[in-house]
């Protein structure tokens, strides 16, 4: 019987070893097993006996798992999932918003005296594109990144839920805007900025409206990302089951 190397991979990933270390170890073991089997076959053994002897010489799954765990440091994702899955994506998301706003302000320097309506079409198009990407696509992009990291490391679902919730809330809260205001003596027109998406009612910021909008957007993002994560997890389980049979 072939040793269950897929099972070994799962055990190592769940033990917190970095996917790249696990992938290389399992690949080398597969090659080694193939060499051992070929060697036993060349000694005149039938396929089944040769396979069994090769597997015995390679070592038991428990032995191979323990040896790797004893000698390999755990990945950062396994040691500090709260940082990699929850904190780091949120900080990076805020930095991307801030960096995008600064870059856009720099690019728009030649037209900074103009109101948005009187800007050349190319500048307006650039602002619209960046606003759309930063406001609506950045969140899903970061959520996808969190999912990939969590799936690769086989993290527990409570960490991925926390990470997805935080990224969903922050990406829902922050929008990217071009303020449509005319220039005054002390202020330039058409400032580009990133900020919490305030909802205004009768000219004033509505706290309930702002919170409601943020929570609604966050809930939709969170629900979609959790559904995608579950679907991907089930798909992975099925693929692994197919591979092992």
């Amino acid at each position: 019987m072939q040793p269950p190397l897929d099972d070994l991979r799962e055990r190592l990933l769940r033990a917190g070893l970095a996917p790249r270390h696990v992938r290389r170890y399992v690949a080398e073991l597969r090659d080694h097993l193939a060499d051992l089997t070929a060697h036993e076959r060349s000694a005149g053994l039938d396929v089944q006996t040769a396979t069994e002897r090769a597997a015995a010489r390679l070592g038991s799954i428990q032995q191979l798992t323990q040896a790797m765990i004893d000698r390999t440091p755990r990945s950062l994702t396994a040691r500090a999932p709260w940082a990699v899955i929850a904190m780091f994506p949120v900080i990076l998301l805020l930095c991307v918003h801030w960096g995008t706003a600064l870059s856009l302000m720099h690019v728009l320097t030649p037209v900074r005296g103009l109101s948005p309506a009187s800007m050349p079409g190319s500048y307006r198009g650039l602002i619209s594109t960046v606003s759309f990407v930063a406001t609506y696509l950045m969140g899903p992009l970061f959520l996808s990144g969190c999912m990939v990291i969590a799936l690769r490391q086989r993290l527990s679902s409570r960490w991925i839920a926390l990470g997805l919730a935080l990224v969903a809330v922050f990406s829902a809260a922050f929008g990217f805007h071009m303020q449509e205001i005319p220039a005054t003596a002390d202020r330039q027109a058409g400032e580009v900025f990133t900020m919490v998406d305030f909802v205004y009612r009768q000219g004033r910021v509505s706290v309930s409206g702002t919170l409601g909008l943020t929570l609604l957007r966050a809930s939709v993002l969170f629900a979609l990302s959790i559904a995608a994560y579950r679907a991907l997890s089930h798909r992975l389980v099925k693929v692994r089951a197919t591979q092992s049979t």
Binding site: E28, H32, L64
Partner: protein
Amino acid sequence: MKMPRETNPNFMAGVPELMLLRLLQDREMYGYEIVQAIRTETGDVISVGEGVVYTVLHALEREGALKSRRKSIAGRSRIYYAVTATGLRRYRDLAKTWTTLAGAIQSVMDGGDHATAT
């Protein structure tokens, strides 16, 4: 065909590293070659689960004692390992420690034989 018995792990601390660093000084080898070389050189006296050798190789590589490169030969891609300057220094330290330890154990055994004889 007789299956080799696994060596008692309590007596194996540092031995795999020592053997790997010595064998890889002569030429670069991939995992299966290394294990066969160990079996041949030790006359099958030292034998562990063969797959375990990769955990030692990877650990030595992380410490800078070994370097690896992927090489394709006869249509198969393999990872070959070679010793670095750090690995050579590590080997000399390990060999010195092992020689001292073996000498000390031998002198205890000689003393034991002497006590039995008298």
